[in-house]
Amino acid sequence: MKPAPFRYDAPATLDETLSLLAEAGEHGKLIAGGQSLVPMMNFRLARPGRLFDLNGVAELDFMRVEGARLRIGALTRHAAFHRPPCEGPTGALLAEVVRHVAHYPIRQRGTFAGSIAHADPASEWCLVAATLDAEIVARSRAGERVIAARDFFVASLATALRPDELVTEVRLPVLGARWRTGFCEFARRAGDFAIAMSAVALRLDAGIVREARVGVGGVEDRPSRQPAAEQALAGRPVSPAALAEAADAAAREVKPMTDLHADAAYRRHLVRTTTRRALERAAA
């Protein structure tokens, strides 16, 4: 349980970090909270030759609302979401979801953007990003690009990031007052990896669903929006029947993984449950 040899650098600026990344190529790896990376290194499942510690790069430590966007800087810890980081449904959703992100000590060190870049299929933040159509801002020495969440998550632990790129921030929409959000996760124990989870956002107008976002995570190799579930809701009144149909649609459409803790049939069953419960919470 000791990592393979690596070289450690602690750059002080973003420019310095980007230079180091460019120089290291495939061998470089960024560390911020280290809550996923370090265990993987200790198991020798990850063996970066060089490790670049972001914690001294002060310009990445921010979170603020600008216009209709919440900008989450790369050094924002999970614990920053223990209280809603912004007004309205987005802030409420983030403060609800964070309670499911691992355990309290882990939340003090692990970062939101680190979770996004790590792209664990069971990551709550990745699900939120996919559901709310987050924008992921990636920087390299060649410049900056903005990647939509649907293009960012490629597979389990795989993203659209290039080796020389770093996620400087993640931008989430600050949803307006007509939106309602809900989240439901099932894990074997409190703080464990999700076996299935659903995040939803509904824009309501006089009890009618005008727009629906239904996301499912922990089930496939990446978080996904569920168009069939969203269509089952759009234009309809919020009713138990509509919510159940949407949950059924999500359960029908997913292609669940099988692992030690859940086979595909059970995960599909869970998707129905978590989606229905997330929708019920949003509609409540």
């Binding site: 074997r188 703080g191 030690l260």
Partner: protein, 724 residues
């Protein structure tokens, strides 16, 4: 002046000051100048012919001192069986490094010694074992195969069949009103101390003494074994325990790594340190449980069991380790439990598979057999349409029949329940639960659509295994009392309990008593800590020594230093008993089982320290709930272990367990020892699987639905999908 009472009082633990102030010294905290670090290279495959080890690259790595394979340690004999030795097990003993074959993922094939632990791990990665893979056996109910086909032809993986019987079984079945049959199984679990194993061995060339720190559980026995295996006189080897972060049966047995660090310290003439990592722990330290029970009961019209026939399969893993056939033996001996069962026959098929070798884990053979027996009692109740409580009452051994000779032996002692009032404890539990009202409340919730249920499991425990224990109690001129024992402390609070017993006799404050344990250099005889034996055996020896000292001091002037020795011997164990009751709620949407309430009723005979008893019960219950709902060492069809981290081997946390209610009674003091005490260590875990299984059945409204532990969400999903 009346004597002050120390026994029966919930004194705070004397041990805790060091632990709470960060002054604890566990195995990994120990270091010695110029120490080397050991890293074990383990087999990556479950079964195969070991053709060779390529360690050339590892040896070239700077900082590596030496790499050994079997040939380098071939003179060291295999690790002997400590407990429950029966003939014919010798070929199955494990050598300290694999010879000819590897038999489980994690089997040590080579060992690296290096200047620092990182280099040791880097080097271990470079050691390449050449293994010709063979098809593994991962199920003990499959037909047995060959242990090491090429080198030990014809040696079967069924190492023994443990048989126990009494009474006229044929007559019982001939007279039966009905026959009830079932097959149930308990998954593979293990004790998971938060401190992994570890050791620091040092050889002092000046005195010629080899010392290993990091010992636990049975230091005296292990000292003798290390000395024998390394060809040294006993008195030139010392084992010393520091703080120990939990034992649970698995920690402190003699493992290959213990012998390797000692051998290396001798041969390399440098201190050698080894600390197990968690992944190693889950595939190298003993596993346990993993038994399948096929039961047939002949019953009369009231549900009284006239005869019980059991075919049991016990998965011992790759080798026979120090526990021999202890777990199968206890399973067969304790299966009848608190019930009369006039005729009985059990055959336990002790089989090797290609999994990590197995040994004891808290309530070995009882967690499993209680689950099987109580499933059977519930099945009998269902078959007759009777209340499960009433069926149990029909079968309980009545108080008038105590002492109750079961007619069989276990661990070399006759099973004689020394004392007990089983019906009384049941009454007290039902009163505590307000049983009729609780049942009605659960029925009302079920009628409203909730899936809630109640279940219980009755069990008899055993404790106080002999043959003997010794203690030396001394007082110095300043009036400080020292109690030297051969017991071991694995966290259970023995310093406090022994001090209380000593204080009761000598009438000195606890603060003036120091308790020594786990040191072969302080006392020549010691049995350590296992089988819920310390309070009974060591406690009575301490009492005897304190009484002897008191006699010596009677005639002496105040302030006279003195010492006295005391022994306690016992040919029989003493048998506490208990009942677990669980209330559960199923969530059909997630297939999770929520334990809403968990009660342990337990007759301890006499509690030395009620707080410590309750602590044992609470901790045990949490582990029992873990085994019932969460923990399982799963293997794939290639024999690869799938639960080798805490992300996959799931122990319950505070969020998964309710407050545990302990209802401790003292209605049946032990008749076999002067203190009247019985053990507490395994009370909390024994019936947990049984109670939770019954509660889940009740919540499902389907008697007999649960046939296997743990009841994972996937299994519950299948049950729900099959039965609605």
């Amino acid at each position: 002046m009346a004597d002050r009472r120390y026994i029966g009082v919930s004194h705070k633990r004397l041990e805790d000051r060091a632990l709470l102030t960060g002054a604890g010294r566990f195995a990994a905290d120990l270091s010695a100048p110029a120490q080397l670090h050991m890293r074990v290279v383990r087999s990556p495959v479950a079964f195969g012919r070991l053709r060779g080890i390529d360690a050339a690259a590892a040896r070239r790595l700077p900082g590596v001192v030496v790499v050994w394979a079997f040939a380098d340690v071939a003179h060291i004999p295999p690790i002997q069986i400590r407990l429950t030795k029966i003939g014919g097990l010798e070929p199955y003993q494990q050598t300290v490094l694999a010879r000819d074959y590897v038999r489980y993922v994690g089997d040590p094939v080579a060992v690296v010694f290096a200047e620092d632990p990182y280099v040791a791990e880097d080097a271990a990665e470079l050691v390449v074992p050449d293994i010709e893979e063979l098809a593994p056996c991962i199920c003990a109910t499959d037909p047995p195969g060959e242990f090491m086909p090429a080198t030990l032809p014809g040696v079967s993986t069924e190492v023994a069949v443990v048989r126990k019987s009494y009474g006229d079984l044929a007559a019982a079945f001939a007279a039966a009103h009905r026959v009830v049959e079932l097959e149930v199984a308990v998954g593979r679990h293990t004790g998971v101390p938060l401190e992994t194993r570890g050791a620091l061995a040092e050889f002092d060339p000046a005195s010629g003494v080899l010392t290993m720190r990091g010992a636990a559980k049975v230091p005296h026995y292990n000292r003798g074994q290390v000395a024998r295996m390394l060809d040294m006189p006993d008195e030139m080897v010392h084992l010393i325990e520091g703080h120990v972060g939990g034992g649970f049966g698995v920690r402190g047995e003699l493992y290959p790594e213990d012998v390797l660090v000692c051998h290396a310290a001798l041969r390399l003439k440098r201190p050698v340190k080894w600390v197990e990592d968690r992944q190693e722990h889950l595939m190298a330290t003993n596993h346990s449980r993993d038994q399948c029970y096929r039961l047939r009961a002949a019953i009369d019209a009231r549900g009284f069991v006239l005869g019980l026939e059991a075919e049991i399969f016990s998965d011992q893993g790759g080798y026979v380790r120090t526990h021999g056939v202890t777990v199968p033996d206890l399973a067969a001996a304790m299966l009848p439990g608190p019930y009369v069962v006039p005729a009985y026959r059990a055959n336990v098929h002790v089989r090797l598979t290609n999994k990590t070798p197995a040994g004891t884990y808290r309530a070995p053979g009882r967690y499993e057999s209680t689950f099987a027996r109580e499933r059977l009692l519930d099945a009998i109740a269902h078959a007759l349409g009777r209340d499960p409580i009433e069926v149990r009452r029909t079968n309980l051994v009545p108080r008038e029949r105590m002492p109750f000779d079961r007619g069989i032996d276990t661990l070399g002692t006759r099973v004689v329940y020394d004392s007990g009032d089983y019906a009384l404890l049941l009454d007290k539990l039902l009163a505590h639960l307000d049983y009729e009202r609780l049942k009605a409340a659960l029925a009302a919730r079920r009628a409203a659509g909730e899936r809630v249920g109640l279940g219980l499991g009755y069990f008899v425990e055993k404790s106080g295994l002999g043959p003997a224990d010794k203690a030396v109690v001394s007082i110095d001129a300043a009036g400080t009392v020292e109690v030297v024992t051969g017991a071991a402390s694995i966290g259970q609070g023995i310093e406090t309990a022994m001090a209380q017993i000593c204080a009761e006799v000598l009438q000195v404050p606890l603060e003036r008593i120091r308790v020594v344990h786990g040191r072969t250099d302080r006392i020549d005889y010691g049995m350590g800590a296992f089988a819920s034996r310390v309070t009974v055996m060591t406690g009575c020896a301490v009492q005897a020594a304190a009484e002897a000292l008191r006699e010596k001091l009677r005639a002496a002037p105040s302030g006279t230093p003195a010492a006295a020795e005391g022994w306690f011997r016992a040919d029989h164990m003493t048998y506490p008993y208990g009942i677990h009751a669980a209330v559960v709620r199923l969530d059909p949407g997630t297939c999770a089982v929520h334990v809403e309430r968990f009660v342990v009723a337990y007759d301890i005979g006499r509690a030395v320290n009620p707080m410590l008893v309750e602590g044992q019960i609470v901790g045990g219950a949490v582990q029992g709930i873990g085994g019932a709902l969460f923990e399982e060492l799963v293997y794939d069809e290639n024999g690869q272990p799938l639960a080798t981290t805490f992300a996959d081997y799931l122990m319950p946390t505070l969020a998964e367990v309710p407050p545990i209610e302990a209802l401790v009674t003292e209605d049946a003091p032990a008749t076999q020892n002067p203190l009247g005490v019985k053990g507490a260590g395994e009370a909390g875990i024994n019936g947990a699987g049984a109670a939770i299984a019954a509660a889940v059945d009740d919540a499902l409204g389907r008697p007999g639905a649960v046939t296997r532990l743990p009841i994972t969400p996937v299994r519950l999903h299948r049950l729900l999908a099959a039965g609605g």
